[in-house]
């Protein structure tokens, strides 16, 4: 027998997510971007990152999580690849030098617009850290949909062509790489074609969500449902459900939630930690000032004084029922309806995280209707297949189950 090889899964769920906001600059000016305070001036000095790392690694007692995801965001993080490289080197050395338990279980994570993915400095970094990387490139779908929102700052030109050329390189590095698609009002008509396009590019996992902000127009829910039903037809008719996943379709969503059994918060804000260029800590990046339209930043400490645990208490005690209006508690299709704590805070009538925004309500309901359509159709197809070829029953069921 030769040397054994091992799959490369990652234990999500038991990992602390620690985010460095390395820059507030980006080449793009996406129309739906929630980062209202982007600028080209605020770049994280290495000394601030070092201070944050020193504080965190020397306080293992308040970070007992089994694993850690060191996340780098912007703006566009890869604009600061040299800084990131220096930070990652420091992290590796310090985790090892201190015999920190995270040395045995860490990842570096990036969500990038993909524009400079191919550049030598980025590629060099990737190959240097390949076993500890998770990189997602955001591509919104077809050129038409992508370029509708994801445009260059300044000239307003679409960025699709510069992103799509890097997709093969990215999939070579990360064959199981997934992408994140954001849907806002104007690009609803392009959803079906966009998802299918992403599948055709070789991206097997597409996470997709509607923006949480209150942008939805009259009739958007009907258009949205139509798009998703058309998408369901294509996926099932072409058998794409066997190899590809689109997060819109999930058989766990669209059910009422028993208040006594399902009271957990949706969002992980407060369990994460985010650090900005001045060394302030936030419960999530969405609580930093550059992410907020109408509210003040929710700072929970800094690298000099440490974390003020009292400022995290509201996040760690937050549950579904306390923050939800009656209509959500009694909702017949409550499961799977998401919220963003930062958007809740930004949209609330007072500075609180305890007022759930329901701007997404009608879009969730439309998604549930389409989702039901998808599963009914798939069940029917599976039933027919079962009758046709009973010998394949077991494998089809197994496929179905693994998809859930």
């Amino acid at each position: 027998m030769s040397q054994q090889t091992i799959f490369l899964p990652w234990q999500e769920g038991s990992a602390k997510s620690i985010t460095f906001i390395v820059t507030k600059d980006c080449q793009l000016a996406c129309k739906y971007c929630y980062l209202v305070g982007k600028n080209s001036k605020e770049r994280m000095p290495f000394e601030i990152a070092k201070g944050a790392i020193d504080y965190i690694l020397h306080h293992e007692e308040i970070f007992p999580d089994e694993s850690v995801v060191w996340e780098f965001i912007g703006g566009e993080p890869f604009l600061e690849i040299e800084l990131i490289d220096k930070i990652c080197d420091y992290l590796k050395i310090e985790m090892y030098r201190l015999n920190h338990h995270w040395f045995n279980s860490y990842r570096f994570s990036f969500s990038t617009n993909g524009i400079n993915y191919h550049e030598p400095r980025v590629q060099e970094f990737i190959h240097k850290n390949i076993n500890h990387l998770s990189i997602g490139i955001t591509i919104d779908g077809t050129q038409k949909k992508h370029d509708l929102n994801r445009i260059y700052k300044g000239n307003g030109k679409g960025t699709y062509e510069d992103v799509v050329k890097n997709i093969p390189l990215w999939l070579r590095d990360f064959p199981y790489g997934g992408t994140k698609v954001t849907v806002s009002s104007k690009d609803i008509p392009y959803i079906k074609d966009s998802i299918l396009h992403l599948f055709s590019l070789g991206i097997h996992e597409v996470s997709i969500n509607c923006v949480f902000e209150n942008v939805w127009q009259e009739g958007d829910d009907i258009l949205f449902e139509d798009q998703l039903c058309d998408l369901a037809d294509e996926i099932i008719d072409l058998g794409l459900n066997e190899d590809y996943q689109c997060s819109f379709f999930n058989d766990q969503i669209g059910k009422p939630l028993d208040p006594t059994l399902f009271n957990q918060n949706w969002c992980g804000a407060g369990k994460m930690l985010s650090i900005d260029a001045t060394g302030n800590f936030y419960p999530c990046t969405r609580f930093a000032q550059y992410s907020l339209r109408d509210k003040h930043a929710w700072i929970v400490g800094n690298i000099y004084d440490g974390i003020d645990q009292n400022k995290l208490r509201p996040f760690l005690t937050l549950d579904r029922l306390t923050q939800s209006p009656d209509k959500c508690i009694k909702c017949e299709v409550a499961s799977g309806c998401a919220w963003c704590q930062g958007e809740n805070y930004d949209a609330a009538d007072t500075p609180t995280i305890y007022q759930r925004s329901t701007a997404i309500c009608k879009m969730h309901k439309a998604r549930v209707r389409a989702n039901n359509y998808y599963w009914n159709k798939l069940h029917r197809k599976l039933g027919i297949e079962e009758e046709k070829t009973s010998k394949h029953k077991e494998s089809m069921c197994s496929e179905y189950n693994s998809y859930c």
Binding site: F262, K295, H296, R313, P314, T317, L318, R320, P351
Partner: protein, 282 residues
């Protein structure tokens, strides 16, 4: 007065003009006044004493309701001064003005002070003087939360003609984060409007609704200052009130041993000082 409304009037440290007193005299009310202020003497008045230093010199009239506002360190080091007041008053409320700066090292001292105060209260009970104090005896009488309930049961009208959740939100001009902490909730012209009023309600306070330190004032202003949320108490707040709760439990048992009072009352033993440690994990 309609809808069972009661009015408490906070008097200033100077004498009010006669016309004010005339208007005030036309309604049922309670006066809250500094102990040094020349004012109408009334059994319904609440006298607020700042600090402990001149407490022994103060001439307490029998059966007064007295409030002492002082720093946490004063309570720890001046327990004997507080104890000297119990024989003379009907009720003594002690309000800590700096609970947010307490650290772990002070907590043993606080426990010791409460035990010393308990000794004096026990003597008073044995001699038939059932003095009340928020720190130690309120918990005996309660089977559910008895919080301040500012915003739910009470509202403050300030000299600027605007409504505030409580006086602290009017007087406070600090910026503790998330913007101005001095915010009003309406005025006389446009009426009262309390956005997110449910957050002042116990059912919307995830920690407090599972807590049995019923004597806690659950100060929403302090919550806002220390945790940014009116419905979430700080760790220090919870620990302090649980030390009081547990001291009440000990005092109750001693009173039951020495008198025939409260024979069936039970405060159960618990093994935490902060309900955060026992919050449900959904």
């Amino acid at each position: 007065m309609k809808q069972n409304l009661s009015v408490q009037i906070v008097f200033p440290s100077y004498e009010l003009p006669k016309e004010y007193l005339t208007v005030i005299g036309q309604i049922d009310h309670t006066i809250i006044t500094e102990s040094t202020t020349p004012t109408l003497s009334s059994k319904n008045s609440i006298y607020v004493h700042s600090g402990l230093t001149n407490l022994p010199q103060f001439d307490f009239l029998k059966d007064l309701n007295v409030v002492i506002r002082c720093k946490f360190s004063e309570i720890i080091h001046g327990g004997h001064l507080i104890a000297s007041v119990f024989p003379f008053v009907r009720r003594l409320n002690i309000v800590m003005t700096d609970i947010e700066v307490i650290n772990g090292e002070d907590l043993d001292g606080y426990n010791n002070t409460l035990n010393s105060l308990s000794d004096v209260i026990l003597k008073e009970y044995v001699r038939g003087h059932f003095v009340q104090t928020n720190l130690l005896t309120d918990r005996f009488m309660l089977d559910e939360m008895n919080n301040c309930n500012a915003g739910i049961e009470t509202i403050t009208l300030a000299p600027d003609g605007k409504f505030y959740i409580c006086p602290a939100f009017y007087f406070d001009s600090g910026d503790y984060g998330l913007g101005d902490s001095c915010f009003n909730v309406g005025d006389l012209e446009n009426g009262l409007h309390i956005p997110n009023i449910r957050l002042y309600d116990l059912e919307h306070a995830p920690l407090c609704r599972i807590c049995d330190a019923y004597q806690c004032k659950r100060c929403v202003w302090l919550n806002r200052k220390t945790t940014y949320e009116v419905n979430t108490p700080s760790h220090e707040q919870c620990v302090i009130t649980h030390i009081e709760r547990n001291a009440s439990r000990s005092l109750l048992k001693r009173i039951q041993e020495k008198t025939t009072l409260l024979p069936n009352k039970v405060i159960k033993e618990i093994n935490y000082l902060d309900p955060f440690d026992i919050k449900p994990n959904y």
